[in-house]
């Protein structure tokens, strides 16, 4: 008899959120299954990062429900939020390392804040986490002395320092060179499998994301446009999803910003131009 599937780590139902009168999420429902890599994709400004902020409780939804490990995030007070955040790690777009602390102290920060471990043990844990991201040798450097790709790996080591259940990645591939990009993608997959964590990756790098994800969710216009395995999403016939996964400049998402027609701006085709003839 097959084991019943474990309950999903994050469960959103009919999630709504907006800034002012501009809706960002308009009834979004999805689940993040345990132990898998879920990718959240979509055009810039489409609400991907907002979903991460909602899961972390940094902003509250205007409607719908969002549960983390069965707990309604919006209903938690500050101490409740801090309790669930200790079960999450988040990798910010540019790492967000503390610039006044060394690489070692950055990774040690959550351990020193949340545990009373002896310093020798903190050292061992930090070096193990740095080893996992390949930067054990960089422990004494300051954030200003390392490259952008390395900073993100340090931030990843810091995010997994307390062995979270869920690691969220905000644009982990943005602005990386091809080598760092491949490294980052492999690292997300390896850490997910080796540590038994759940990963939620926000990205618009198609190739790398499709290579490592188990589940892909595409957000467009505040709703979910496609959801499924990478192969299923690739084969989708939805015009918007096709435009996105095939990186076409024009489609349901217009290349031109709305404005007056060409004829209004330049005069009808064939008419003499207004500038010359002097």
């Amino acid at each position: 008899m097959p084991l019943t599937a474990p309950s999903p780590l994050v469960e959103c139902r009919d999630l709504r959120f907006g800034y002012g009168n501009r809706p960002i999420l308009d009834g979004v429902s999805f689940t993040v299954p345990q132990g898998k890599v879920t990718a959240l994709m979509g055009a810039s400004g489409g609400g991907k990062t907002t979903v991460l902020r909602l899961i972390g409780g940094q902003v509250r939804p205007q409607g719908g429900s969002l549960r983390f490990e069965g707990q309604e995030v919006a209903a938690l007070d500050r101490s409740g939020l801090y309790a669930i955040r200790r079960r999450m790690g988040m990798l910010f777009q540019f790492g967000a390392l503390f610039t006044d602390l060394s690489v070692f102290d950055n990774v040690a920060f959550p351990l020193r804040e949340h545990t009373h471990l002896p310093e020798a043990l903190v050292r061992d844990i930090v070096l193990m986490k740095l080893q996992a991201v390949g930067l054990r040798g960089a422990r004494d450097l300051m954030p200003s002395e390392i490259s952008g790709g390395m900073a993100r790996r340090v931030a990843l080591a810091r995010a997994i320092a307390l062995d979270p259940a869920l690691v969220m990645y905000d644009e982990p591939f943005a602005g990386l060179d091809p080598i760092s990009l491949g490294t980052a993608a492999q690292l997300i997959r390896q850490l997910n499998d080796a540590l038994g964590i759940t990963s939620l990756v926000v990205s618009h790098d198609l190739e790398e994301t499709f290579r490592i994800a188990d589940q892909v969710i595409i957000l467009a216009g505040g709703k979910i446009a496609a959801q499924g395995s990478p192969a299923e999403v690739m084969a989708s016939q939805d015009p918007l999803v096709r435009q996105f996964v095939h990186a076409q400049a024009d489609g349901p998402v217009r290349f031109h910003y709305p404005g007056p027609t060409v004829d209004q701006d330049f005069g009808p085709a064939g008419a003499p131009s207004r500038g010359g003839q002097r």
Binding site: R85, R86, F94, L97, T99, F109
Partner: protein, 260 residues
């Protein structure tokens, strides 16, 4: 006039009141966190070192020159009334009661306050505060509270340094250069300055200015728009509002102290 339209005035006033309310709530939280903050004294000690040490040179040099000027001006005024030997008392009272706390606070706002605002603003712009929040570490508790207490403790110490160096400056000009009698310079000072009434008043002022300047600097950094322009505006606002607050508070405190 368009900008005096009632709706606009109301909107602006409501914005100011809301700002004030948020600042008061932050201040309340910082005060409630005093116990845990002082219990973790290592973080406060680092800030006293950072804020105090880096302001020490400018404070000492300014104190010396203010003392020089006081010695010179004081001598010429007192000499008209034939009481030049009271120079020590005049210099000491002026510094301890008034110039020490006030000028120290103004210099502190320019030197340490701006660096606090820029530091917090840049931490916000670099998502460091958000990252801390996501690590379940409260930035108000971990970053703001130790800095506030660092400023509160550093300010009276710096004020004392300013007054001490200033008195030495007055002595150099009055006694060494002009030739006022050294014995009466010091004995008049000793006789005319009371520990609780004069030195105590100066300490209370420094303490209050320490709270005001450091809190304004932290608040401006915490509320700064997370952009280069926002941080630069916030640093400017720190200097302007901290200086005005110090001068306003100084008048109120002086009035209260004379009426007590």
């Amino acid at each position: 006039m368009r900008f005096l339209h009632p709706a606009r005035v109301g909107y602006a006033v409501r914005g100011q009141v809301a700002d004030l309310g948020r600042a008061a709530r932050l201040f309340g939280r910082l005060m409630r966190l005093s116990g845990p903050t002082l219990a973790r004294f290592g973080l406060v000690r680092d800030q006293i070192h950072f804020l105090g040490n880096y302001s020490l040179a400018i404070i000492a040099i300014s104190g010396l020159f203010v003392g020089f000027v006081l010695g010179l001006q004081g001598y010429y005024i007192l000499q008209r009334y034939g009481s030049a030997e009271a120079l020590g008392q005049l210099v000491a009272l002026t510094l301890v009661r008034e110039l020490g706390p006030v000028v120290t606070a103004l210099l502190f706002a320019g030197r340490a306050g701006t660096s606090l605002t820029a530091e917090i603003g840049l931490m916000k712009a670099g998502e460091q505060l958000a990252a801390m929040e996501m690590m379940a570490v409260d930035p108000v508790r971990r970053i703001l509270a130790p800095r506030l207490w660092g400023g509160i403790i550093a300010m009276p110490l710096l004020g004392a340094v300013f007054s001490a160096v200033g008195i030495l400056g007055g002595w150099v000009v009055g006694v060494v250069m002009i030739g006022v009698d050294s014995g009466s310079f010091w004995s008049q000072m000793q006789g005319g300055v009371e520990v609780w009434k004069d030195v105590g008043n100066g300490l209370v002022k420094s303490f209050v200015f320490g709270i005001a300047v450091t809190f304004i600097a932290l608040w401006q950094g915490y509320e700064a728009h997370p952009t280069p322009e926002g941080v630069s505006r916030a640093t400017t606002r720190t200097v302007v509002s901290a200086s005005l607050t110090v001068l306003g508070l100084d008048f109120i405190l002086t009035a209260m102290m004379f009426s007590l």
